[in-house]
Amino acid sequence: MTTELVQLLTPEGHRVDHPEYAVDPSAEELRGLHRDMVLARRLDAEAVTLQRQGELALWPSLLGQEAAQIGSARALRPRDHAFPSYREHGVALVRDVDPAHLLALFRGASNGSWDPAERNFHLYTLVIGSQALHATGYAMGVAKDGADTAVIAYFGDGASSQGDVAEAFTFGAVYDAPVVFFCQNNQWAISEPTERQMRAPLYRRAPGYGFPGVRVDGNDVLACLAVTRAALDHVRTGSGPMFVEAFTYRMGAHTTSDDPTRYRDEAEVEEWRAKDPILRLRRLLEREGHADEAWFAALDEEAEALARRVREIVRTMPDPDPMTMFDHVYADGHALVDEERARFAAYQASFVDAGRSN
């Protein structure tokens, strides 16, 4: 497998060369990648805690996938578009989407309140793999416009079994759509290991559809950055999609509702803990003298400030006004919705404590 896996940074924090993929970030960029990963992990950990405290209904943790998400997201240009599944909190952070939007969704206060056109980061998609087609259709539109924009579709190893993902590969290929299919293979689809989804490595599927596929060490932020950047450049040339399989690991549970001790060995988790994406970049930064103790301490403080902000956002988040469930069902209005809204309003108003039915 090692010969197939693009790696530019070993778990011990040593740089390695690759004949095809290279990246030479400045010290500032290296520190930026590290900062993004640390902030993403802190946001994630705080959200898990808030779920345990009953403040969030659910949270799908990204723990272990920071390099895959930050590396790929940092490869995007501002005008590029990202279509996430529901675990791409790191990508959202890089795209500068206010965490309040993600937290509202998992608190049960919204179903996705951000404007996709504002940060070119589309709505989370909970039905597995559906967004691969949206990304492909978007990219087909980009191709018609002749625009210098690339699209990235995020999905996981479980989604690779979905028909929509297969259809996205076909549509992307036959219309030469500028889309990168970025699969975070985190080895587990809730309780099902990859043996339940595939019999051949995922990245080898791509040539069958007529476009290149590559497997990258998903815990190596430099390799993820380099490979995604190359993939985005490739699709920008108009020669069709590219597939990137980021080989990584879901260190936590599928979501806060899941109990992975029922189906996987702790030894496997330990093995991957040694490949931690943040630790290896820290080792590089320290070895090459790009960051000192004071810098790391300042970053920790910034991460704590983010956590405090996350807590503040969630604890002060109001429940939506019940009337809003009738809003935006249709863009142009609908007689039935109008009738039901009016009836509901009258019902609400019939209570002495008008406005609250409970």
Binding site: N111, A117, L133, A139, T170
Partner: protein
Amino acid sequence: MVTKSLPVAKALNEALRAALEADPKVLLMGEDIGKLGGVFRVTDGLQKDFGESRVMDSPLAESGIVGTAIGLALRGYRPVVEIQFDGFVFPAYDQIVTQLAKMHARSQGKVRLPVVIRIPYGGGIGAVEHHSESPEALFAHVAGLRIVSPSTSSDAYWMLRQAIRSDDPVIFFEPKRRYWDKGEVTLPDSGSAAGDAPPGELHEARVARAGTDLTLAAYGPMVKVCLQAAVAAEEEGKSIEVLDLRSMSPIDFDTIQTSVEKTGRLVVVHEAPVFYGAGAEIAARITERSFHHLEAPVLRVGGYHAPYPPARLEEEYLPGLDRVLDAVDRSLAY
């Protein structure tokens, strides 16, 4: 403006042509719609005139067609996609129900998905299985979708133009057995805004024939059958009002109510199975609205709770003239 006698299929073709001319963001996509012009020739000649980039033959994958149409709409396009036959829409059902219908609401109004899904539907053409179904109720149950079906050439033209202009997703059910029925259509001049105004609202029901004794409410292919039933009933001295509902979501209950409060009797007719069908919803709502005006329970005539039968049996399955008249008699007997 010019008034022409056109078959329904040709009226749809003219509507697509006019939409492609009027708005560069309008795109057509579907299986065999390009070079072939569609299996019913509704898109005949359009790829030749507008090019492969705007009239796209798609891979044979319905979920892919609707899913990429969503992506194209997110990019600012107005895709009009064709599902080749009613029974082939189900691979796309997930994209339609969980994505297309909900994204406007999920984004709190920030995303608009002006996607039209054209589906030739219904029986009566002696087809093999999965080619004669009427699944409209399965879509009308989903908030966020608009569901319409024309019954005449004029409505075929104008309702499709209106559907394409809508900022909401519209499922446009085309009565395939009426594709070759001719009717008058007043077409606006090409490239001119003059006369480019539709004769009515997209979701308004139409009184297809006035009457005083009983109301027949139908849409799509069944309007013609109901009009024939009204003619036959007239010979027996019964005055039947026929409503062409035109829209299944929303339903123009006001027009039905006005008619029922005049006639006191209502029979709803559709090809789709009666169980959980549009007739059930109409019966419930009209009973609520017009309880004291009703002289008889609202009756329904439609398909049975059985898979659509082999074509040799479809005349027994589909509501024909006799079954509609039987329901008329039963209602009047109360």
